[in-house]
């Protein structure tokens, strides 16, 4: 277990943003944090990155109390914001040098780490080019490269594929998988792209209206979306959600002797997300 959150609460004045949040994030897992706009994802990630203070609740980071071990937490975690949090007027190397030095790296250690981060994000050709001229995908890769400088145990990725082309997106997703499996890196991933979460994550939590609506293994969550499609002799198809009404399914079978086909299907994460968070527009 890398992070354990218990009864975490946070308010901005009178407005409650996080209410009794409890989560457990396993070491070496990719944890998907889903939620509509304004659900409190960014607040939660900001608290976990020491950018914001919590009001109440406890957080454990690799078994250590979060508040009393802020230096340890900061040393072993890294935050990649949704924005391009670097200096567009600096080159790739200049950006990495600056942030690397803030992490306490220097000399050969800094140079080696910069080389590693550039290689893993495939920015070798752009090492000495100023970042403002980069495409969206390259900027995202540089953003992630900076996040890897301190060789973190936990990496927070906040919507790391927003606004980029499919090739770059595909590259970044593969890179995240690779970092996770090769380095046993715990990744906390927030995104609006359900298929990314479905592809990447081992565990998923859905946050809405200040609360965790659902938190479980991806397979268990997807299992909840299973349904049976029954094809009758006349070709008419009927869908029955077996999870919600098993009795209804049995009754249907018993009352329809002309069934020609029964298929077990499942919906995707997006369907589950919309069902849980309702389809109302969020501001």
């Amino acid at each position: 277990m890398s992070i354990k959150i218990k009864d975490l609460c946070k308010s901005y004045g009178e407005k409650k943003v996080l209410d009794q949040i409890s989560l457990t994030i396993e070491e070496g897992s990719i944890f998907g944090l889903l939620g509509p706009n304004g659900a409190g994802k960014s607040t939660l990630v900001s608290i976990l990155n020491n950018i914001l203070d919590k009001d109440s609740g406890t957080i454990e980071f690799f078994g250590k109390d979060f508040e009393n071990n802020a230096a340890y937490v900061k040393k072993n975690s890294s935050f990649v914001p949704q924005t391009y949090a670097f200096y567009p007027d600096l080159t790739t190397v200049e950006n990495l040098e600056f942030f690397g030095s803030l992490y306490g790296l220097k000399g050969k250690g800094l140079r080696d780490r910069i080389k590693f981060c550039i290689e893993i994000t495939s920015l070798e050709k752009y090492s000495n080019i100023r970042a403002y001229s980069f495409s969206g995908g390259m900027k995202r890769r540089l953003n992630i490269a900076i996040g890897l400088l301190n060789d973190p145990k936990v990496l927070y990725l906040d919507e790391p594929t927003v606004g980029i082309d499919p090739q770059s997106r595909n590259y970044i997703l593969k890179m995240i998988k690779e970092m996770n499996t090769q380095n046993n890196l715990t990744i906390i991933y927030t995104s609006h792209y359900m298929e990314e979460i479905e592809y990447l994550c081992d565990d998923i939590a859905i946050l809405d209206n200040t609360k965790i609506l659902l938190n479980n293994k991806k397979e268990i969550l997807l299992d909840q979306t299973k349904y049976v499609e029954v094809v009758l002799g006349n070709g008419k198809k009927t869908r029955i959600n077996t999870k919600e009404s098993y009795d209804e399914f049995i009754t249907f079978i018993n009352t329809h002797p002309n069934i020609s086909e029964i298929n077990v299907e499942h919906k995707n994460l997006e369907d589950l997300f919309l069902k849980l968070t309702k389809q109302d527009l969020r501001d």
Binding site: N49, D53, A85, G100
Partner: protein
Amino acid sequence: MFVYILKKEFLLVFRNLHAMGVLFIMPMAFILIMSLALKDTYANKLDKKLEVLLQLEVKNDQMTALQEILNDNDFFTVTLSEDKKEQKTLLYEKKYDFVINMPNSIFEKIIHKNEFKIEMFTKPDVDQQRLTLMKNLLQQSLTSIYMKSILEEKKMIDLQDSIDSHYVYKNKDFHIQPTSVQQSVPAWLVFSMFFILIPISNTFIEEKNLGTINRIKSINISFLPIILGKIVPYYLINQIQVVLMILVGMYIVPLLGGDSLVIEGNIPLIFIISSAISFAAISFAILISNISKSTEEATSIGGLSNIILAALGGVMVPKVVMPLFMQDVTSYSPMAWGLESFLEVFVLGGSLNDILPDLIKLIVLGIVLLFISYMLLKRKNS
């Protein structure tokens, strides 16, 4: 780490051409323009004398004597004419700045205390000071001729050369009026040093808006080196401004016909003053950047504040021409603290003791502003 923080700030500011323009081109232009524009005001003379036409009924010795006396100054060239051409035509032909219609037999009328009128014509845009000067000069000249006519010439005492003028200010016993370049260089230098706000706010607000500050907050580092990293490069840029603007005053302004900058005081004192100004200006810029949400907001708030502080501080209108009430008001502007210290050294050759009170004010202001910024930055939930 600190080396890379400095490197980052230096690279960002030197790659920002607009900021460079504001920091170096703007003050150079102001110094050149204002030194040349105010040259005559400070020297109390005109490049081109104003042309005056005295319209007479008859030319005589007394009128020629009057012409000679009136011509004996740096401001007017007086011509006599018996032609009674219309004054408006003469003025708008742009040949004359003043047309004065002298009554006939004026000296007899003065001696016999008869009433008479001297009519003076000029265009409405004439400088009021010149108009008053012309009136006074005319009165003085007529009096002089009258006195000579009633006294023996050898008994006349010319008091003009016995009068020595001194500029006495409220807060100083003795003050030499600076030349235009001695006013312009320190004034626009102080102004441009406060415009360090532009590059500081550009980088700082970009850091806030892009989430770089949050990223830095998530790293295990104190904000002290980050703030120091912002002070040192911009302090050095301010010092480069000082050297360049002094060189402009010394070598470029004279090339264009202005006075050369002469520094009466101790050169190291100038850098002590510029250090105090720089510290206050950078702290002010960091605070404005901290409380602003966008570069536009910072530029508006900071730019407006700078212009008001400059107007109040004697940068735009020299303190020497302000009424006493406004001279009191200038003491509330940090730009005035810097400018007065510079003038003390540039013009009067003042010592550290003379400028110490203003330096202390600048440093205390800088510490207070910086402390507020530090607390704002350190604060979570911001």
